[in-house]
Amino acid sequence: MTPAIALEKFSLRYSAMSHWALSDLTFQIPRGSCCAILGQTGAGKSTLLHTLSGLLGKHHRSAESSGSLQVMDSGDISLPRESLFPRVGMVLQDPYVMVSGLYETVDEEISFTLQNLNYSRDQISHRVQQTLATLNLETFASRHPTHLSGGEVQRVALACILVAQPDILLLDEPRNSLDSAGQETVARIIKDFRGKTTVLFTDYQIDLALAIADHILVLDGGRCIFNGNKSAFLKHNEEFTSILIPDEWKDVIPALAAPTSKAVRNSQRIAKLFGLDYA
């Protein structure tokens, strides 16, 4: 089976005059897996998600790319110039902008996505109810979409995309500005999709990635400095993870072999990336 996403030496810049925002990226994301993309602000996380959704290529006509990019069975499309929705669904960083402002109830707001895709009224009603149930939003169905808390709006934003049942779900910093309860809810929702939908999410901390991701990418200045599964991440970056992860996680980390010199260099680089002292 072809991977959900495959990049081969993929580079991107916004124009011929600008620097490469993404540089030499090579990785594959298997179908149904959950991938965390980590990195500081400006590392290229959002650029990568916008590229994969097709929105970047559409809005930045002067953008140039090299290498190859494949999304599902698209073949080599280098840089998608049209939105790939509904096959690829993306929830933007600010969930409030995902709410159109056209509707007065959450269920109407969610149905707007399917209206755009020309679904029949019966199909819309069925899908909306299904999505509300999946995200535990039934009690909010008749509430005003803009009169909700941050965590609730985040779930509504997610519902607005999930209702179209995309093959790939892209989440740009999904727990941004959420309290701990909201973060837990979002983590649980992402976890529930593992195996069914390919999920890529960006974040600037590693705890969520360690909790739910199968695959981890770390970006720095548009380059990929780590690409692998969770155990490889832990093995190669023991010192780094022991600094970053919360105390309650430290007990569950297995004792790891002594890091190689390459792993130490990598750990130093990642620690520097997150502004930490590497001992």
Binding site: S53, G89, V97, S100, S111, Q115, N116, C160
Partner: protein, 254 residues
């Protein structure tokens, strides 16, 4: 008979409301200041009755009160300034050695009440019309999709503006700036926040456009049902438009 508790009284069809606004704007330009004053008083009364009696508009009550107060202050400001600086006609009065002239006062009254009628009618239109219905209407009458999207994003931006200003004011206050102290303090602070306000609003509008596309929006808003306006409503709307044109032509020929 109009029943004030019947929502249909408030929910006039959009073509009817738009044509009424057009007629009011035209009459504001062609009418005397006395006519405009009476129109403004009538509009304000309708506004107060609607906003104080309709539960769905209750959130606009405070806004309308503030709007009315500002309109009165602004009108008085324009009238006084014109009365002082436009030295035409007879000198009517002198207060603390400041003279008021008849021509200036009349010009001030005309300008002030004209602006008041236009702004009040637009205010009432937008507070009683959900964006969704307006967007469907534009699409229904065949306005091109890209233009409808631009209108939608602009309306959204306009509605969000007071909220955004308030957020930035609060942020400035948190930094110790005095931004809510009186009219002059606010005016000064407004000047300072203008740049971040414009930047953040442009950025949010672009984000919202991207979010619409991320949800499969291709430029066509759909209400899910065919829009039909009652024949009497359309006929009345066309009558208002016709009267507005007649007023314009009569004014040109006069």
């Amino acid at each position: 008979m109009f029943d004030i508790n019947n929502p249909t009284f408030m929910r006039l069809d959009i073509p009817l409301k738009l044509s009424l606004v057009l007629l009011l704007i035209v009459s504001a330009f062609v009418g005397s200041w006395q006519t405009n004053l009476l129109t403004m008083l009538a509009l304000s009364s309708v506004g107060f009755i609607l906003l104080l009696t309709q539960a769905s508009l209750v959130q606009h009550k405070k806004l309308f009160l503030r709007f009315t107060l500002l309109t009165i202050l602004f009108s008085a400001f324009i009238i006084i300034l014109n009365g002082i600086f436009l030295r035409e006609g007879d000198q009517l009065a002198s207060v603390l050695s400041v003279s008021f002239y008849q021509g200036g006062l009349e010009f001030g009254l005309t300008t002030a009440f004209r602006l008041a009628v236009i702004s009040t009618s637009l205010f009432l239109f937008f507070t009683t019309t959900p964006i969704r219905e307006l967007i469907y209407f534009f699409q229904h009458v065949g306005v091109p999709a890209p233009l409808v999207v631009i209108l939608f994003l602009t309306l959204h931006f306009t509605i969000q503006l007071p909220l955004r200003v308030n957020q930035i004011f609060t942020a400035q206050e948190a930094r110790g700036a005095s931004v809510r102290g009186g009219v002059f303090g606010r005016a000064k602070a407004l000047f300072v926040i203008l740049f971040p306000l414009i930047l953040s609003s442009i950025s949010e509008t672009l984000e919202r456009g991207a979010a619409l596309e991320a949800r499969g929006f291709r430029g066509n808003f759909s209400s899910g049902q065919e829009i039909r306006y009652p024949i009497y409503s359309v006929a009345l709307a066309w009558t208002f438009v016709a009267v507005a044109f007649v007023l314009i032509i009569l004014t040109i020929l006069r």
